[in-house]
């Protein structure tokens, strides 16, 4: 289905999944805590079949 197969059959599907979701999140800080809803969790969603090293840059701004 895809022409970009040089990095494996799972690579182009992984790019599509990433673009359809997102690579960044902004969560408010309220009363000193992350203002997550009761049932909200933050997840890293890996789309490649093999294990990978992933890096997240966390920038916190406020007072």
């Amino acid at each position: 289905m895809f022409k970009h197969v040089s990095e494996g059959q799972d690579d182009m599907p992984a790019h599509i999944r990433t673009i359809l979701t997102q690579t960044s999140l902004t969560i408010p800080i309220q009363n000193g805590k992350l203002a997550l809803g009761t049932w909200q969790g933050i997840y890293l969603y890996e789309h490649r079949y093999q294990p990978h090293h992933r890096n997240i840059l966390i920038t916190s701004m406020g007072y």
Partner: protein, 85 residues
């Protein structure tokens, strides 16, 4: 998982006392080894990165520096949600 603060406020006490409500910006790096396709809960690590900053109000901006993985907010009660994903 490896959480590393990239910056911190050496003069936090001074700033809090003499310049309250000054907006501060801090950055941390979270390195994760994934186990292949699927989700990994990083909520606790992000919470601790924010707690270390001692910020009371503001925003936490998470940026994943990759093109074949995502960051998502998802239900954390029934793990079947993530298996279905």
């Amino acid at each position: 998982m490896d959480l590393r603060m990239l910056s911190h406020f050496s003069n936090m006490h001074y700033m809090d006392r003499y310049m309250p409500n000054t907006i501060k910006i801090t950055q941390a790096n979270l390195s994760i080894n994934t186990m292949g396709r699927g989700t990994q809960d990083i909520t606790a690590e992000i919470i601790s990165a924010v707690t270390i900053t001692k910020l009371q109000a503001g925003l936490c901006y998470l940026f994943l520096q990759h093109t074949s993985a995502s960051l998502i907010l998802c239900e954390n009660y029934d793990s079947q949600v993530r298996r279905d994903l």
